[in-house]
């Protein structure tokens, strides 16, 4: 069995009295595209920082490629993390980044970087800090994809990207899986519907806690929804506690954890209700609607 690319054991991160990550334990297999999902403030950026060695947990253990990444030169050099609000050296333009980055990433693909710059139509004369939000996301994507780092982390790569650029990113990400550079990709995104097809594995965070982890199809298979007229739906739900309840007028949509119970589909149809699998986006939205979960805020922000 292949060793996981990432192993987290009881990882918590606190900023003063705020808990950004709370006892996260999971593995991310090697070679997958892993979606890091959850609401704003769920702890995604904190987790990515810890994986890249940019931060370290208050308690718990982290292993990336078999070692604790914090100040581990070989592991840190194997990880690429460009943040959504990445700071660049003053007055750096794209050409400065493209000149410097290959020194840091031994697998840097200059041809791919040049192609991506064309694809995203990134301006050569503008300093990066004066680029638009979408252009800055493009720069981050160029660095991440061209680095071909064994562990590549994208923090909200879609921010500000237009539809064409988003499709280009998805296509390039897919192509990167067959370019011969074994790599694990972790990416956080709120555009789950667009990315779902690319995600092999997902981690869903809510209020700093890991609420779902596993292969994407297994995670979505472990939930189902019931929708239709509220009275009939709530009656059929009986004692089952939904993880989310959404009302629109007299209609209700309930999402339940676990596999769909046998026979419930027939009962639902007879009552004029619908039972359906839950998409990843709906599941993440349902899990994020759990009002009992504390909001993890980046106190250090």
């Amino acid at each position: 069995m292949t060793a996981p690319a990432i192993r987290l054991t009881g990882v918590s991160r606190r900023f003063g009295r705020t808990t950004a990550l709370d006892d996260v334990t999971t593995d991310v297999p090697s070679g997958v595209v892993c979606g890091l999902l959850g609401r704003n403030g769920a702890g995604k950026t904190t987790l990515m920082s810890i994986l890249a060695g940019h931060d370290r947990p208050s308690t718990g253990a982290v292993e990336v490629l078999g070692s604790d990444p914090f100040e581990h030169a070989r592991v840190m050099g194997s990880v690429s993390l460009v943040r959504d609000n990445q700071r660049y050296p003053e007055d750096f333009k794209l050409r400065h980044v493209l000149r410097v980055a290959p020194r840091f990433h031994e697998r840097w693909d200059a041809d791919l970087a040049a192609a991506l710059v064309d694809d995203f139509r990134l301006p050569a004369r503008t300093t990066i800090k004066k680029m638009s939000r979408g252009q800055q996301s493009g720069v981050g994507i160029v660095i991440g994809l061209a680095s071909r780092a064994p562990v590549t982390i994208f923090d909200e790569p879609y921010l500000g990207l237009d539809a064409t650029a988003r499709r280009i990113f998805a296509d390039r990400l897919l192509a990167s899986r067959f370019d011969g550079a074994a790599r694990t990709i972790v990416l956080s995104t709120h555009l789950i519907d667009e990315m779902e097809q690319l995600l092999d594995h997902v981690l869903v965070l809510n209020g700093g806690r890991l609420v779902r982890a596993g292969a994407t199809d297994e995670v979505t298979a472990a939930a189902w929804s019931l929708s239709g007229p509220a009275d009939a739906a709530l009656r059929l739900a009986g004692g089952r506690a939904p993880i989310s309840t959404r009302r629109i007028g007299g209609l209700v949509s309930l999402v339940f954890a676990g596999p769909e119970p046998e026979g419930v589909g027939a009962e639902a149809r007879a009552a004029g209700l619908q039972v359906a699998p839950v998409s990843l986006q709906d599941l993440v939205a349902a899990l994020g609607a759990d009002e009992a979960a504390p909001t993890a805020e980046r106190a250090a922000a």
């Binding site: 100040e71 030169a73 990445q86 050296p89 020194r103 031994e106 250090a300």
Partner: protein, 236 residues
């Protein structure tokens, strides 16, 4: 899947810091050249008004002008390059050592440029009008060893001071630089209070202190402080 073989080295960080040569090389040289041009222009104006430029040997603008920018450069090299360096896979240790290399390279650049200017000043008899710009009493009055040493240590110290303030900001936010400023001021006040009653007896010892000792001490403390602040710093 395995980690890469290449370890990010301090030389890679040096290359990052010099990634934009205009900021690191162009502007300092422009400042030095600008001081010469401005000083000569003012001197010409004085001469045309019937005045004299003799006695301008106390003009230390060649040193002060470049130090102000260098402190800012030292701060920028940590505040904005540290997050980017780590984003590219550098360790904190490699970054701090690379930053030390950068400060040394920058000090050497400014020192060599100053010596070149001194050479031109001597060769042209003071920019053809007898004015002293580089040949200042503050920087050895034309002694290339003193000028080179002063510029080297001055720039190294300025880069380190800028760096330690920025490192404190990276680690502790706005409280960091404020803490250093308050702490340094408090330390100086305490030293003054302790020494003032025995001023007469310690005066010879104080007078024996060479300026370059202070520069070396401040640089060393600032570099150690930079490492201590950054070695556990989270990226902001």
């Amino acid at each position: 899947m395995s980690a890469v073989d290449h370890l990010v080295s301090p030389v890679d960080v040096l290359a990052l810091q010099y990634g934009n040569p205009r900021r690191m090389i162009g502007i300092p040289l422009l400042i030095l050249g600008g001081v010469v041009v401005l000083t000569v222009a003012v001197s010409v104006a004085v001469l045309r008004a019937g005045g004299t430029v003799a006695g301008a040997q106390g003009n230390g603008s060649i040193l002060w002008s470049v130090l102000g920018y260098t402190v800012a450069l030292g701060a920028q090299n940590v505040a904005s390059s540290f997050p980017f360096s780590l984003a590219l896979g550098s360790s904190r240790r490699a970054f701090v050592l690379g930053n030390l290399l950068t400060a040394a390279a920058q000090a050497l650049l400014v020192a060599v440029a100053s010596l070149v200017l001194l050479g031109i000043e001597v060769a042209t008899g003071g920019w053809f009008i007898g004015v002293h710009v580089v040949r200042s009493g503050l920087t050895g009055d034309g002694d290339p060893l003193v000028l080179g040493g002063a510029m080297l240590l001055g720039v190294l110290m300025a880069m380190s001071i800028g760096g330690v303030f920025a490192a404190a900001w990276v680690r502790f936010g706005a409280r960091g630089p404020l803490g250093i400023a308050i702490g340094t001021t408090a330390l100086l006040v305490v030293v003054l209070l302790v020494l003032s009653p025995i001023a007469a007896s310690v005066r010879p010892a104080v007078e024996a202190i060479e300026p370059w000792w202070v520069a070396v001490l401040v640089t060393a403390v600032a570099l150690v402080g930079q490492y201590l602040f950054l070695r556990r710093a989270s990226v902001r």
